[in-house]
Symmetry: C2
Subunit: 205 residues, 2 copies
């Protein structure tokens, strides 16, 4: 692609560094900005700058936060004995939306994935183990995605903390609410039969 302006070219190149945004999309977005009032682009630029410069990660759970300890960890009404282990902040937001969990979180920042060069030491696993060591935690809920990397990460953490005799669980895998059985994949359907729950329990949730 040849550009008539270096300024435009640089903006397009920088935009196209983002995942899922190619040169053409970047050009479309950048030309859109040029048609909008100037202060809109400046506001975007400033918001990105401020975010990257000033954002903090919660010292306790590694969630994104504006202060040293995030709102969830700082909330005295939440149960610090149960910790839900998740991959990133989007999972925290998704679980918070359900309003069905009142414990704390621990954000790993990814999954163990040798293919992508991500080992256990690139994730916030040690801080989780340290938290377990303090003896306050009674249960860890593994809520990573159900992939090979997720399972590997779960198992790695499990091995690290198994001496501390705390309860560990993973979120249930099964047929989504509203889904037709015939379209479910075999593994999920199989697991949902093996891990069936008493009908009375299902009435309550």
């Amino acid at each position: 692609m040849e550009f008539s302006s270096k300024l435009l070219e640089r903006a397009v190149n920088e935009m196209s560094q983002l995942p899922g945004i190619g040169k053409r999309t970047a050009l479309r977005l950048v030309l859109h900005m040029l048609k909008q009032p100037k202060n809109q682009t400046l506001a975007l630029s400033e918001a990105l700058q401020n975010m990257r410069n000033d954002i903090k990660f919660c010292k306790s759970c590694n969630n994104i936060s504006d202060v040293d300890v995030c709102e969830i960890c700082a909330n005295p009404h939440r149960n610090e004995k149960i910790i839900c282990v998740v991959e990133d902040i989007r999972d925290v937001m998704a679980i918070e939306n359900t309003s069905s969990f009142k414990g704390l979180y621990h954000v790993l920042g990814g999954k163990i994935s040798p293919m992508d060069g991500i080992g256990p030491h690139d994730l916030n696993i040690q801080t989780l183990v340290d938290k377990v060591k303090t003896g306050v935690v009674e249960e860890l809920i593994f809520a990573l995605s159900s992939t090979m990397e997720g399972d590997t990460t779960n198992f790695y953490i499990y091995k690290q903390i198994q001496d501390y005799k705390i309860k560990t669980s993973t979120i249930a895998r099964g047929i989504s609410v509203g889904d037709e059985l015939e379209y479910a994949d075999e593994i999920t359907l199989g697991r949902s039969i093996v891990n069936r729950i008493p009908f009375e329990t299902s009435l309550k949730s």
Copy 2:
């Protein structure tokens, strides 16, 4: 969506103002930036800021440029007697890529579209008419997209300049090179038959 950080929320909100980018995509992009080195986000932010502050539009053709008169208009080897009328800079880039046009461009900045509140006075039509009035221009090539808005814009410009007795043409509509006839739409196929060209001419192009 509830965010654990105002800085994050603002960045996501600003990103999601861009066309085709919803809140979820914006969050994904912003979290990606947080995982990348700091200077990458700052470079993006700076590139957008510089572009919006310093970019110029060519005084002659309205193309995006870093200087007052764009490279194409300033090039003495280009034929100033033929002007190709296009909608935006992406069309200039597309035509330049074909290397088959050696005249100058005139970028309108859009099409007449009453539905979107865009009238002739919102576009750079007057400057084109003024250019024709000087008597230098011998031919206008209309290269707008073949939609109702494009046709309206072509016709509007045509009415404005018809007293000056210059040649006007539109780019050819027809079956794309490599396309199967059976999948072509009726109007395109019909036009390609009405506007058929001598076989000898087609051999040369």
